[in-house]
């Protein structure tokens, strides 16, 4: 029989998987705790999420698009498309192309701008009954500060996630790749944000992600989202031109999972773990098994992006699969699993 990659069947086996926690605790035994007694809540800074699964910026719109598919209040949190001070049209099409096990996108931060976001999108978002994390992007420190200050005054905004890592606009990447510039940006925003939880979303397009992670934490980030997309490209060999009008795009989906997982592991070990700063792990998560890997590597919460395009209900399946995994191993709280990777074989 072929393995089931879905979460419709509860994972009660340990066969074939290297699961140190489970092996140590209850290898091969039937679950002895009830599914409903597993504590799925996690803390991201001052924010408590009912479960560790969040939807990712740029893949779930502003909130109402996936309403017909699921009860969004069952999510841990919802992250909006990047919001900028002024509206942006974004890049010319084609903006996306499929590649092996993933896709490249060069949307170019197309968004309605701060004013219309607050007037039109935030009321819809706040009615969903899920903590709203607003992803913020900008050209300059002043722009980030202005947008964050304005959003911090909106009670519906639970968290602010600084996108310093968009590979598709000329200005986005500089804060994400230069630890000094990043520290300066986060410090400036930190001074203005009082209420909302401040999250920094790191770029993977760096030589040593621990350096930017350390700079963000030192400047006051309460949590790290990692990672954004990896810069890549695709070429149309008939036309001898790049497929994307922007030439390059950001790679997402299962293709980047091993890379993202490694980065979460590295930052958790070297910087975030010791500093007690939670990581929202993301990059190619499709199934609950992927989520378990990220949590074992050190993520407190996990994000689902590209997988939503294939099945908008993926986050709920991941929550249920994760819950069943924990119950089957008698782990009472998901937070106990964070970073519980054993060394060696």
């Amino acid at each position: 029989m072929r393995p089931t990659y879905d979460t419709r069947t509860a994972p009660t086996d340990t066969g074939g998987l290297t699961l140190p926690v489970g092996r140590r605790m209850l290898a091969g035994m039937e679950s002895s705790i009830n599914l409903s007694t597993v504590d799925m809540a996690v803390r991201i800074g001052r924010l408590t999420l009912r479960n560790p699964v969040v939807t990712l910026s740029g893949t779930c719109g502003y909130g109402d698009e996936y309403g017909p598919f699921m009860d969004l209040s069952l999510l841990g949190a919802f992250t909006t498309k990047s919001v900028t001070l002024e509206p942006r049209r974004g890049n010319a099409p084609p903006r996306v192309v499929e590649t092996a096990g993933g896709m490249l996108n060069a949307i170019g931060l197309a968004n309605v701008g701060l004013e219309r976001f607050i007037a039109e999108k935030l009321p819809v978002l706040s009615a969903l009954g899920v903590p709203a994390i607003v992803n913020v992007a900008g050209h300059t420190i002043e722009e980030y500060v202005k947008v964050c200050r304005t959003l911090d005054a909106q009670p519906a905004v639970a968290g602010l996630e600084l996108n310093v890592s968009c590979p598709n606009v000329a200005d986005g990447l500089v804060f994400g790749t230069d630890a000094g510039a990043l520290g300066e940006l986060v410090r400036a925003v930190r001074a203005e944000v009082r209420r909302a939880v401040l999250i920094v979303k790191l770029s993977p397009n760096v030589t040593d992600i621990s350096r930017t992670a350390a700079a963000a934490i030192e400047a006051g980030a309460e949590a790290l989202s990692m990672v954004n997309t990896f810069v890549g490209m695709a070429i149309d060999i008939e036309r001898r031109r790049p497929v994307l009008s922007n030439t390059t795009g950001g790679l997402s989906g299962p293709a980047i999972k091993p890379l993202a997982l490694h980065m979460v592991h590295r930052v958790y070990r070297q910087v975030a773990g010791p500093a007690g700063i939670p990581i929202i792990g993301m990059g190619g998560i499709v199934t609950w098994r992927d989520a378990v890997e990220f949590i074992l590597a050190g993520a407190t919460a996990v994000g689902i992006g590209t997988a939503l395009f294939i099945d908008p209900t993926t986050p709920l399946k991941v929550v249920e699969g994760l819950r069943a995994y924990l119950a089957s191993r008698n782990i009472l709280a998901v937070s106990e699993l964070v970073g519980r990777l054993e060394r060696g074989r």
């Binding site: 893949t59 698009e65 017909p68 099409p93 499709v286």
Partner: protein, 313 residues
Amino acid sequence: MHLEARSPTDRGARSVFLAAVRANDPVCRDHYRLILALAGFPSAQPGQFVQILCADPEGPPWAGGAFTRRPFSIGGLRRTGNDCELDIIYRVIGPGTKWLAGLRPGVQVSVLGPLGRPFELPADRPVAYLVGGGVGLPPMIWLAEVAAAVGRQVVAFCGARSADSLPLRPRGRQDAVPLSPTEPTLCMEEFAQWGVPAVVCTDDGTLGRRGRVPEVFTSYLASHADEAAQAVVYTCGPEPMLRLVARSCELLGIPCQVCLERTMACGMGTCQSCVVRIRDASDAQGWRYQLCCTDGPVFDSRAVVWQDEKWGT
């Protein structure tokens, strides 16, 4: 039946369905008709589409046919109680459609929908001209059924490169399709079954009239001015064809609804990948982007800035 324009926030009922393949048969070279059976499919209208997962719904998403879903127009819909059959006519051009072509009756496919804004049938225009080219024909087949059912006088104009790339079945013998410039006849099964006459043309003249569908349609408009004055034109196919059809309509002041295609990742308005330029006098550059998947795929032809059109700044 007047199809109301929905407000931008009303996206209508939609969901992910596991559908069973009823049939998946070749219709002409590289084209297949897929019939999917599913339960509880929400109310849908011609012009809307579904996103099909061209990979095993139980398998890992990186194996099999294609990773992201692929959009296909609904080419027909039949209901019996809660059960529903969807017709999809597709052309094999890449990994996703190649995977579809291998489907056998009985296997399951994941279908997401219905999506997009449908065609509108304004009550004050009793004539409907449907102009379809190649894989733009499927939505026209369903529209013919619905428009005829609500009492429109419908005429279909069907084009393809060659007889063997026209995904329609000639009624009777193939050589019975008129080759001379005559009136539309009940020549194609898919339209004739709804009592809808059609004009067929192929670039190489291997079936119907030799020539391209916009030219044939434009000459029809010229010779049927009174009828055309009461018509709405609905068109779907390659964009250069749509542009020519739209231009003829605009010159004569006939409303024209175009069904556009863009590369889509989500189909649900979240990824912003499927943008279409829309004329906007209030914009400094003269245009703004709308989404093909949610604001479209059906647009008023006068609003569209065509892909290769120089417009604004």
